[in-house]
């Protein structure tokens, strides 16, 4: 019991560190690799919780997380990056150092918010980690200027929501996971279709 909780918490901390790696990148390719790693770490986390609770739906979520957010969507983006050189360039207006610093401040705020507001409700070990992950994901979406980076922020947000749902045993987690994935695939589809019609440069303007 103790060992499982420790493993889950350790994996959660690794996920947060990988998210800081996403925040610190100006190039698209390392960001894509980092989101794939984040998703794979979370799929292991879901599998561990699933085995501990004998919960089939969590095992399915683990498989979905690995296959769709860990492999499929990152592969689609990587293929797109190879095809269109524009994504190989740095995102010039992103101030990475200040973004990382903002991320650290946000993580501290997230922890304080969790302790002050959510802790009395949940009181579970590692409960602050999904809240911090969610805030960092919002930061990626808000601070990044191009559509691909925002899609990565969306996947990270989805991971945070499923992480919180898994820790708290939400009954509709499977349905939520499936539809969040469908939305992620739809987002990737919009990027590819828009690129086909309007070219690369214009895609920079798909700001959320």
């Amino acid at each position: 019991m103790f060992a499982t909780e420790t493993v889950v918490e350790f994996l959660g901390i690794l996920v947060i560190l990988v998210t800081f790696e996403i925040l610190s990148q100006s190039y698209m390719k390392p960001m894509v690799n980092a989101i794939a790693i984040q998703s794979i770490l979370l799929s292991i986390l879901f599998a561990v919780i699933g085995i501990q609770r004998h919960a089939t739906e969590l095992m399915v979520i683990a498989v979905l997380t690995f296959s769709i957010r860990g492999v499929l969507i990152p592969s689609i983006i990587s293929w797109d990056i190879k095809k269109n050189p524009i994504w190989s360039y740095r995102e010039l207006e992103t101030m990475v150092s200040s973004l990382v610093l903002t991320g650290v401040i946000l993580a501290i705020i997230g922890y304080i918010v969790y302790r002050m507001i959510f802790h009395t409700v949940f009181n579970i070990r590692g409960g602050a980690l999904p809240v911090v992950l969610l805030l960092l994901s919002f930061l990626i979406i808000i601070a990044r200027k191009n559509a691909v980076a925002q899609l990565i922020g969306y996947i990270s947000e989805e991971n945070a929501l499923l992480y919180a749902s898994a820790l708290l045993n939400l009954p509709v987690i499977l349905e939520a996971g499936v539809f969040l994935d469908l939305l992620g695939i739809a987002l990737a589809g919009i990027i590819l279709a828009a690129e086909k019609e309007y070219g690369h440069v214009e895609l920079e303007e798909l700001v959320g």
């Binding site: 969306y154 939520a176 919009i190 019609e197 214009e202 700001v207």
Partner: protein
Amino acid sequence: MLWLLLIFPLVACLLSLLPFRRLREAITLTLSTLTFALSVYLMVKVIKTGKVAESVFYVDLYSAIIVLLVASVYFLSALYSPFYLRNVKEFFLKRRYYYSLLNAFALTMLFASLTPNLGLMWVGLEATTIVSALLITLEKKKASVEAAWRYVIVASVGLGFALLSLVVLYHSSKTLNWYSARLPAYQATLAATLALIGFGTKIGLFPMHTWLPDAHGTAPPPVSAMLSASLLPVAFLAYFRVFSIAISSNAHVVAGITAFFGVMTALMAALLTIPQQIFKRLFAYSSMDVMGIATTGIALGKEGILASFLLLIIHGFAKAGLFYGSGNVMVSYRTGRIDDVSGLLSSLKLTGIALILGSLAVTGAPPFASFIAELVILACSLRNPALTAALAAAILISFSSINYHVTKMTFGERRGEKIPVYAEAIPLLSALIALGISFGVLGVLLI
């Protein structure tokens, strides 16, 4: 019976994938008509018995109102779509997917309205985002793709908050069914506040409204009608359920928070209607204004809740009419700008009348029942004079601004080209339904 409300649009969605244009139109129209008829039957049954519980569904008066609204606008959009599609110059989304997605859009909204499980309601709303975002990109315009992107990104952030709210709610009450969930006041306040941010994003509440004018303004008119007249009320229903749980769990502070964000939304939207130059964006801000007033209404007690739902009904039909009318104007005048349109009453007489009736209805002018609804909400707010003053200001500003813009379009020199009468009849039919319901309500009140 309730399963049929989902089976009809599902069958229509699947059959609409067939490669025959006429067949797709006919199937969608037939099955949307059946869905509409069934929703009327459900409404009658709920009025007689108070609620209908069947299998995994649970419908009370409020759900029945929203189901009726969704099914009606679904039917009207199915009726209007063939005309508009014939006038679209270039498609971004493949034309053959349009009807399938339109039916899927109705299906997801009906599902979200029929289920008593807040988790499944959330799933339904998530699904509406997927299909409606694709529908927004129907026409080949860069602005549509940008609007769809902004919509999905902002809505996904909002739905994230909504899911967190459900996590709090489930953890404390061990159920997600709105009719049985009860939790301690602190947890209820937390869940409702997160739901206000989360579902409030889909309702178009300030400050999470940024997607709304872009999405409603750039979507094809039949889709704009469904977004405005049915999707916003479905999201409103979801928040109303969490709000009701919070109030019955003695979290009364939630009423104050809800009223604050409601009135801020109404005021902000009313002010933003003034400088609008594109008529579809004007109507989008008007939707935001009405949703703000309705959100304020639910925070003001039982009378306020009834008035809010009455406002949603009148707004739904009138706004659908305004968007179909906008489609006619765009086809006839080949513009979306208010300043480029004049003389509607001479060139497109029925559309002009529909726009006048629609704008009067959405701004709460008598004899429309929206007038009574807004009056009741104002009366309920009298305990807080600042709230009354802000609400009254919002209602007055939006009334003057929207009717001024529409009057500019309807009178003056004739400019547009003729369009088929049946296309002109649909917005008028929608506005007349709002008028008919208003007379019905007035009749009931007088009796």
